[in-house]
């Protein structure tokens, strides 16, 4: 697997994006939205396991809150049915409100935790709620040092 990603990096040497990791959905409890909390091997050198798991667990909790069936969701559903579902055109549903909270949370996590480590989380809603896409960016300092060493070697050759 590491060899394959190294090849991908060679192919994309002009871009700063190295690779992407996809966290798949966990269907063990049904069709509710949950993601696997298993720590992917590709992130081993990039981020602490606890931080990653904390992010995924919080996201799972948000989705559970959005899809929770209880008094409030039933009330919303019954009201919608009584109005021939016209209220869906007029007001924001609870699910949409929670999705906005999720979006804010992901942005905050990106700014505070993931971007300093060269990672970027994509909101699952932009991937059809199928995966959490984590983009891994290549080490800029190592690429800068390699480019500087190549310029010094070319200057010395002249």
């Amino acid at each position: 697997m590491a060899t394959l990603f190294h090849n991908l990096q060679d192919l994309r040497h002009t871009a700063s994006l190295a690779t992407k990791v996809f966290i798949q959905r966990d269907y063990s409890e049904g069709t509710l939205c949950r993601f696997h909390t298993k720590f992917p091997a590709e992130l081993d050198s990039r981020i602490e396991r606890t931080l990653f798991e904390e992010t995924i667990k919080t996201l799972n909790n948000y989705y559970a809150e959005a899809e929770k069936i209880g008094g409030r969701s039933y009330l919303e559903g019954c009201l919608a049915c009584a109005s021939a579902y016209i209220i869906f055109l007029c007001m924001e549903t609870r699910y949409e409100k929670v999705l906005k909270k999720i979006s804010t949370y992901i942005q905050e996590q990106n700014e505070k935790i993931y971007a300093p480590r060269g990672l970027l989380i994509t909101d699952p809603i932009e991937r059809g709620m199928r995966v959490i896409e984590i983009s891994i960016f290549e080490d800029r300092s190592s690429s800068e040092s390699s480019s500087s060493s190549s310029t010094t070697s070319s200057s010395s050759a002249r």
Partner: protein, 462 residues
């Protein structure tokens, strides 16, 4: 852990995370064209109106007929029967009929014009990642990878199938509608009467539509009978009453013939709602325990009729995943995984181009003749998945039908091809947009089924 100094990446400078990673231009919009909305490049067979607000299937089916019948019959009722009934009985009759009529029309339009729960297709990165996982999970010797994945849901084994069109493993209860060419979550059926798929997001609209239509037709039928009875009592007999009010005869005929099918459909769907099943699952008998030795119950049921009904009809309304009115990032390639060029950067193998071309030649030759050409190489199925769809269809149908390991090499695939009638037309679909009523990989499962009831037409697929 490797100790690296990373230059902090400003997420805002990179633009939205949805933008393609192949471009590192921060917010550099070089395109001078109007930014496109996502619905304009939507890959499925749907039509959009009102700048993406309204979505319908490309074939609207008999939606105009459904709407026309409802409007016509209700119109006749309000114009010809209501005045008599208001005069002789009560003003509540047109009020109730009016409310029911509004419910029917609004829910019909919502069922037809809303997103049923379409899953957006996998982008090239994701598709390549899935391909890598499938390749890695296979053994060292060459064997076409299985395109199913087994998972446990509430302790029960459920098989997830790989969708060749959408390039992903379908989530549970998701099915690919070949009429709309989309994967739809909690796929119930494609209803030609509403001209759209019925799935997770519009099932409650559909159910409300058929229930209110049942009430409306029964109500109109009852009121018309009452009208004619009252008229015949006060007048000169039933035949005379019919002659005085010919519109009532038309309404009687329409209501009489539609009541049976609509009431039947309502009853059927009430049973489905109460047991948290979909039409697709019920028709295929997914949880009815085909093999008595196996314990297979519905893993999604809450084991309570009331809870099932509440969850299905009054549960939280999931959002639309296709974001049809969102704008495309200016540098993203609109086609997701239909072009082979998108997949080449992700394939680090040296023989990618060769294998792709040879597979392409194979497909073209098969598409143009019924004879099998022997141009495939063993390495084809390991590479570009979009062009090996037809080859893998036969392999996967062999796998699911017989459970034996598929024959290796070309000869096995060639031997199978003449018997798999749908494959050549399916391949030519990529060339000539030929459409099949059902995808060929459903041949090993239940065939296309149309209901016996004349007025009820639903097409459960895959």
């Amino acid at each position: 852990m490797k100790n690296c100094e990373y230059q902090q990446i400003d997420p805002r400078a990179l633009g939205t995370p949805a933008s393609t990673p192949s471009s590192t231009l921060p917010c550099g919009k070089t395109s001078s064209h109007r930014p496109k909305r996502k619905w304009e490049v939507f890959p499925g067979r749907n039509r959009f109106y009102c700048d993406g607000r309204i979505i319908v299937a490309r074939q609207c089916g008999v939606l105009p007929l459904t709407l026309g019948l409802i409007l016509f019959t209700s119109g006749l009722f309000f114009v010809f029967d209501c005045p008599f009934l208001v005069a002789h009985l009560t003003v509540c009759i047109p009020v109730i009929a009016g409310v029911l009529f509004l419910f029917v029309v609004i829910t019909l339009l919502q069922t037809s014009f809303s997103d049923p729960g379409i899953l957006p297709r996998a982008l090239p990165d994701e598709a390549a990642d899935i391909e890598r996982q499938i390749d890695n999970s296979g053994s060292g010797t060459y064997r076409p990878p299985p395109r199913t994945k087994e998972i446990l849901i509430n302790g029960q084994v459920v098989k997830l199938k790989y969708c060749f069109t959408c390039k992903m493993f379908r989530p549970p209860r998701t099915s690919h509608c070949s009429l709309c060419d989309n994967c739809v979550e909690r796929f119930d059926h494609h209803c030609p009467w509403v001209g759209n798929c019925v799935g997770k997001r519009n099932y409650r609209f559909f159910y409300t539509f058929i229930i209110s239509l049942s009430f409306l037709t029964s109500f109109i039928f009852g009121c018309v009978i009452t009208h004619l009875t009252l008229r015949s009592q006060s007048g000169r007999g039933f035949i005379q009453a019919l002659q005085e009010s010919p519109a009532s005869v038309v309404e009687l005929v329409v209501c009489f013939f539609s009541i049976w099918s609509i009431l039947g459909l309502s009853g059927f769907h009430t049973y489905l709602v109460a047991s948290n099943l979909t039409t697709n699952e019920d028709i295929k008998g997914s949880w009815s325990g085909k093999r008595p030795a196996e314990e297979s119950g519905n893993p999604y049921t809450y084991n309570s009729i009331f809870t099932n009904c509440c969850v299905v009809l009054c549960g939280p309304m999931p959002p639309s995943l296709i974001d049809r009115r969102g704008y495309l990032p200016p540098d993203v390639i609109p086609q997701t995984v239909n072009s082979e060029a998108d997949l080449h950067p992700f394939m680090a193998k040296n023989d990618t181009n060769m294998c792709t071309q040879s597979t392409k030649e194979l497909l073209e030759s098969v598409a143009h003749s019924s004879l099998v050409q022997s141009t495939c190489t063993p390495a084809t199925t390991k590479t570009a998945p979009v062009t090996q769809e037809s080859l893998l269809i036969t392999v996967s149908s062999t796998l699911s039908a017989s459970g034996r390991p598929p024959p290796t090499g070309c000869s096995g695939r060639q031997a199978r091809r003449p018997t798999d009638k749908a494959c050549p037309p399916r391949e030519s679909k990529h060339k000539t947009s030929f459409r099949l009523p059902s995808p060929p990989y459903s041949l090993s499962h239940s065939p296309l089924i149309l209901s016996d009831a004349p007025d009820v037409g639903f097409i459960p697929l895959t």
